[in-house]
């Protein structure tokens, strides 16, 4: 894995390398878990939006925020923070939440090539 981090546009595996050393298999496990988490987020957030379950969206978003920082996906983490704060505000607007959700999904799609590269 060493030296690969610079080649990623959307994530930065340097942090994982710091924690995991050269254990590529472990890093891949983390990436698989990250993809699973994001897929759950995509699946569940839309339903929660329809039900206007803001706390549930905030909780989901919190998970992807910390996990995104671990893999150096800073844009996605920042967007998740904005959404989490919005969902914890007094009266979140459906339209605003939709915009953030769409942005997070878009960022996730953009990360896929990088994530797949780590798994290759």
């Amino acid at each position: 894995m060493k030296g690969t981090a610079e080649g990623f546009s959307g994530i930065n595996a340097t942090y994982l390398e710091n924690i995991c050393g050269d254990d590529k298999e472990f890093i891949q496990q983390i990436i698989v878990a990250y993809k699973r988490l994001l897929n759950e987020f995509v699946d569940q957030s839309e339903a929660y939006l329809q039900q206007q379950r803001w706390e549930a969206i905030a909780s989901l978003t919190h998970k992807i925020r910390s996990s995104s920082r671990f893999i150096g996906a800073q844009q996605l983490a920042d967007e998740a923070l904005a959404l989490e704060e919005l969902c914890k505000s007094e009266s979140p607007q459906v339209g605003q939440v939709q915009v953030h959700l769409a942005h997070i999904r878009s960022l996730y799609v953009g990360l896929q090539p990088d994530l797949d590269l780590v798994l290759a």
Binding site: T14, N18, L37, S66
Partner: protein
């Protein structure tokens, strides 16, 4: 004793690999450890000392996110600890009631009983016998910081943490942790 242990750091959402000079809050823990009178250990093979040989404590990780569990566990492994992992505040409370842990690395956001609630309950029930509780969190809002203080959490470490952050935590609380080891 709890009040004396309060020593919070402002959370920083920044990546730890960024310029440390711009992120004093995250690195304050490390700096303070160096000034505490406890010396950072000599590096062992692989870069980190086997802390378990120096400080044989039982560590509980409470976090409901698989990635966080794995990374925290791996980080502590590099310091010589095999941790017990639970996924909720209730499970953390139950584990502490069953077994003698000296340190809990506690996530704040968990389903059901959250990290603050669990910490408050543990400190209330076990008083001076309670393990030290360190919150490991992505960031903390003002209201949550107040809840942490009231629940008896002694410090928080910001995600994404590094091995050095956990090592600095051990250095900082080494004496307190040693007091909790039962013969």
């Amino acid at each position: 004793m709890k009040n004396l242990l309060f020593n919070f750091r402002k959370a920083s959402p920044a990546h730890p690999l960024e310029d440390a000079s711009e992120k004093p809050s995250l690195f304050a823990v490390r700096d303070e450890a160096s000034d505490s009178g406890n010396q950072l250990p000599f590096e062992g093979k692989g870069g980190f000392q086997n802390w378990y040989e120096r400080l044989p404590i039982k560590v509980l990780i409470a976090d409901d996110t698989e990635i966080n569990q794995k990374l925290l566990s791996r980080t502590m492994e590099r310091l010589g600890y095999e941790c017990t992992i639970v996924s909720s505040g209730q499970e953390a409370y139950d584990a502490v009631m069953r077994d003698n842990f000296q340190l809990i690395l506690m996530d704040l956001y968990m389903p059901g009983m959250d990290g603050c609630e669990a910490s408050a309950l543990i400190n209330e029930d076990l008083e001076d016998e309670a393990p030290l509780i360190v919150a490991v969190t992505a960031s903390i809002f003002e209201e949550e910081e107040r809840r942490c203080q009231e629940s008896g959490i002694v410090q928080f470490i910001t995600k994404p943490f590094r091995v050095e952050d956990l090592e600095a935590c051990l250095v900082k609380w080494e004496d307190e942790l040693r007091l909790r080891i039962k013969e």
